[in-house]
């Protein structure tokens, strides 16, 4: 027999090791509250807990902790005391009814990690309406962590008394009559009862196995939405309807996340029918339903589409078509969610479909689109300007004209393209862009101005060149203006061009050569007999400066 001191020392050593394990555990739990679980500090904490517990278990096989309200005991010795206002490890376990907790040899870091996750979850959860630490431990089914829990929720309840329950003894008719009635019906248990009634054939056993697998794989989102549609028809008051719609919102979002556009389409069609029914029978519900439609069109719900849309390409034409069919059933507010997706999409065909959907929505109500046009997202706004191009109404024109003043060069340019695509009606509005800071916008404008013979454009250009010619320092731009004048111009421009080319009063003007050159370019572009005569005259001019201008202009042209 060992002496008392030896025994005490051993117990002390054991308790000390238990304490160390618990301390490491507490630190890990704290870190779980401070850092994400994938953080190196959390991972390190788990490694330390595992190592401490492993050391303990290697020496003593199991660590069983008895739980009291604010402390943990190991072999009747206190190994942890909850600090006041600090950690409450013992109380957390005690609160949910844990009586003891045991860690056994074989414990791996994964188990510890999961265990900590559960502890952390229920440490911060004050509600626990759908479970607690004990239910979570049960579900986790740890192979090396055992526990015993008390039925704390029913502690103060008396057990029911079986004899107090009424089994419904005979009141109507006699037992004999009953037996007679029952004997007339089929009975499963005749003398030689067939075992096939309860024994599965190998085929049935296989079918059962498949049935279970199939059910595990089954996407219940559709079933749930079908169910909710039935449920919706049964609602009699606003509060209940709102509850159902709230649930529905989540299910709808799940369906979107799974990319089932076909079902989403059918669902919305049915939902529209439900609305019609409500309109005639329960008009009080309409505002609630409309609000619901707005909610499912919000970025929070439709955002679920982003990831799915990235996986689509032109080959998924059927799905893309379903996507379009489904989206157009949403209210115009969906634009606020769909617009930002444009900049993320890789597939041009998906992008195009989305833009067309937005256009359809804008026809119903342009305000969400208008709202998005103010966004600083250049790429999205550029795409939305293209969408405006699909619309041919007055509002879209106004918006396009507004967009020609946008801070982004690309957006302005797109707006100009879309406006010119509508013809030359907006030329006066667009003409000021001839001085746009962006060269590409200027070029686009001039290309458009010089696109065809047009007296109005000619007049504008003549006026511009007469008024602003001394201010223009960009020779390239100046040449482009003259070229455009030539292309759109007529005999009306000849006097102005002749004067530029031959007027001697200008001889000392600085930069006159560039205008002479411009006049040559314009005359070449003009290409009329009168213009050709002037050019011929210029080529034979006595003044070298005119001849040089002629020659250089031809080189450039």
């Amino acid at each position: 027999m060992r002496n008392l001191t030896g025994k005490k020392d051993a117990l002390h050593g054991e308790a000390q090791a238990a304490k160390e394990a618990i301390v490491s555990f507490l630190i890990a739990l704290k870190n779980y509250g401070l850092y994400p679980q994938s953080h190196a500090i959390c991972k390190k904490s788990i490694a330390i807990v595992h190592s401490r517990l492993q050391d303990f278990l290697n020496s003593y096989h199991s660590l069983r902790l008895d739980v009291e309200k604010d402390r943990l005991l190991f072999k009747s010795q206190v190994v942890h005391q909850d600090a006041e206002g600090g950690d409450s490890l013992a109380f957390l376990l005690f609160r949910d009814g844990i009586q003891w907790l045991e860690f056994e040899t074989g414990l791996d870091p994964q188990e510890i990690q999961e265990f900590l996750k559960i502890m952390h979850k229920y440490k911060s959860s004050q509600d626990g309406a759908e479970g607690d630490f004990v239910t979570a431990l049960w579900e986790a089914g740890f192979p090396n962590i055992h526990y015993k829990a008390a039925d704390i929720y029913w502690d103060s309840e008396p057990l029911f008394d079986l004899s107090s329950l009424n089994v419904g003894k005979v009141e109507h008719g006699s037992v004999d009559e009953y037996e007679e009635k029952q004997e007339n019906s089929l009975n499963i248990a005749p003398e030689n009862v067939e075992t096939s009634l309860w024994k599965l054939t190998p085929e049935e056993a296989e079918k059962l196995r498949e049935m279970i697998l199939e059910d595990e794989r089954r996407d219940t989102a559709q079933d749930l939405l079908d169910m909710v549609l039935v449920l919706l028809n049964d609602q009699r008051n606003e509060k209940d309807l709102m509850e159902v719609l709230e649930f529905l919102e989540g299910e709808f979002q799940d369906t979107l996340a799974q990319g089932d556009f076909g079902f989403a389409y059918k669902f919305l069609v049915k939902l529209h029918r439900v609305i019609k029914t409500y309109a005639s029978q329960r008009p009080w519900a309409l505002p609630v339903l409309y609000r619901f439609f707005k909610r499912i069109s919000s970025p929070q719900v439709l955002g679920a589409l982003s990831r799915v849309l990235l996986t689509l390409d032109a080959l998924d034409s059927d799905r893309i078509s379903l996507l379009r069919k489904f989206l157009v059933l949403l209210p115009s507010e969906a634009t606020l969610a769909l617009g930002p997706m444009l900049s993320q999409l890789r597939s041009p065909s998906v992008q195009r479909q989305l833009m067309q959907v937005i256009a359809i929505m804008a026809k119903r109500d342009p305000s969400p689109l208008e709202q998005l046009l103010d966004s600083p997202e250049e790429f999205m706004v550029q795409k939305l300007v293209r969408v405006l191009g699909y619309l041919k109404d007055e509002k879209s024109t106004q918006l396009l004209l507004r967009m020609t003043h946008h801070s982004s060069e690309k957006v302005r340019k797109q707006a100009v393209i879309e406006l010119f695509a509508r013809g030359q009606h907006f030329i006066k509005h667009l003409f000021p862009l001839i001085e746009d800071p962006s060269q590409s916008v200027r070029r686009l404008i001039l290309d458009q101005l010089g696109g065809e013979k047009n007296r109005s454009v000619e007049a504008l250009l003549l006026d511009y060149l007469e008024q602003a010619r001394f201010k223009i320092t960009d020779h390239q731009h100046l040449m482009a203006c003259y070229r455009a004048l030539g292309r759109c111009g007529s005999s009306d421009s000849i006097p102005f061009l002749r004067s530029l080319l031959f007027n001697r009063k200008w001889i000392l003007d600085f930069g006159r050569s560039v205008h002479r050159k411009g006049a040559v370019v314009a005359l070449v572009s003009l290409g009329t007999e009168e213009a050709k005569e002037l050019l011929h005259k210029a080529s034979r001019s006595l003044f070298p400066s005119v001849r040089i201008a002629y020659r250089k202009a031809l080189e450039v042209n």
């Binding site: 027999m1 060992r2 002496n3 008392l4 025994k7 069983r64 072999k75 509600d127 309406a129 759908e130 479970g131 607690d132 239910t135 579900e139 089914g141 039925d151 929720y153 029913w154 309840e157 029911f160 079986l162 004899s163 329950l165 009424n166 089994v167 419904g168 003894k169 005979v170 109507h172 037992v175 009953y178 037996e179 029952q182 019906s185 089929l186 009975n187 499963i188 009862v193 009634l197 309860w198 024994k199 599965l200 049935e204 059962l208 049935m211 279970i212 059910d215 089954r218 219940t220 079933d223 749930l224 079908d226 169910m227 039935v230 049964d234 609602q235 209940d240 509850e243 989540g250 799940d254």
Partner: protein
Amino acid sequence: MTDKTRHQGADSQKSNLQGEVFLRAFYRLIQTVKIHQDNNHLLIECAKDLVNRMAPLWVDEDYVTIKVSRGRFLLEDEKLLYRRENVNLIQEMLRYFEQRNLQGLRFHRPVKDCSFEEILSFVRILNLAEKRSEPMKWLDQQLDETSFLWVEIVQDPRVVSEQRNLERREMARRTYSYALSSLKEVSEKIISQRRPGIRKLKRITQNMIDLLTEDESVLLGMSTIRDYDDYTYTHSVNVAILSLCLGKRIGVSRVSLTRLGVCGLVHDLGKVEIPREILNKPGKLSHQEFQEMKRHPIKSVSQIIKLRASRDLKAKIVLPPFEHHLKYDLSGYPKLKSKKSISLFGRILTIADVFDALTSPRIYRSRAFSPDHALSMMLEGSGKDFDPILLKVFINILGVYPIGTFLYLDTGEMGLVMDSPENGDKARPKVVLLKDDGQGGFKKDKVVNLAEKDPRTGLYKRNTKKSINPSVLGVQAAKFLV
């Protein structure tokens, strides 16, 4: 007598004497510890003496076992002989063991390394056990807490099994009771416009699954509980139990079983919204009343959606209650345009729901069907109302005569089916015989197996004449089963 047998006899005599010496040392210690403090020299000597007396007995094994069997002490399965000198000692010790329901003790070799305080502490616990209402249970708990690795209580496996059985029955009773009260609480909260959570229902379902894993028949026995006055609550708990049994048998994972059990508990929650006049109407419902009644699965869904839980969890438990009257071929209610088959859990709930309903006394039906007749009726709807494969499995679990069926036997005896044979003849279950208690009721008699044959004639000793639902006789089957 040969030399060999003479030699064996001498050995046996020697070990018998050693056993007697050990028993005497044990007796001395038991008595001395009652008088002295731990630091008493004599007491310490007694403790040392006990350990020393064990030493010669550790020759073949690392432990020594002393147990009581049929009024005799056995030392390593060898009877301790009575001698004139030891009669008093043995009788005293037998009484000591008997007062504590103690069947035996096993001392392991590490006892020689433990402190004498530990030995004294153990003996004091042994002495105290006598005063406890359940000395063995208390002793077991105490030793469990102290974690003495050198001593263990030896129990007859039959006794251990019976004790465990009792514990399971107790747990089953508690679980059923808590399930009922939790369900009532949920309903009351709904009625008073509050939002109940499902934590308790989840926890109780997990307890049911634990029980089911250990002993299916105990839980099935509980599912025979009937309450005519408050049908919906017992019905819901019974449906949960029956669904869990079916789910477990077909291999549903334990986490999914929790979901299935909770579905069973809440499947009729919508009935809180059905007017009581309709729920409790004797006789046939009018068309309008029936239409209202048919709305209860939808109402259940509405109530489940309002529970205080995450949408994810609610989405997992809402569908089967919605489907439980849809029927396998979707010909039931509520009417659906979709032709998708109902979910696995929906099909399970349908079977459990109908079985419990048919076997329960209801206000609109003068009698409940006997469980075997209920199964027969359900078989008629196999493939139409019920999934045929699941129904087969269900019958396989319950047997031809399900637990709780009241049987009239050809011997003139009456019995309640208490277990369905796992293998063998499903029509010949174990039954607990019931006798007239002289007060218009019944009392429990012995348990018999209907598969038992008379060895002389080769014929079955007992055959079933007819079956009946126990409620017809006013019998609460569970009272005799758990």
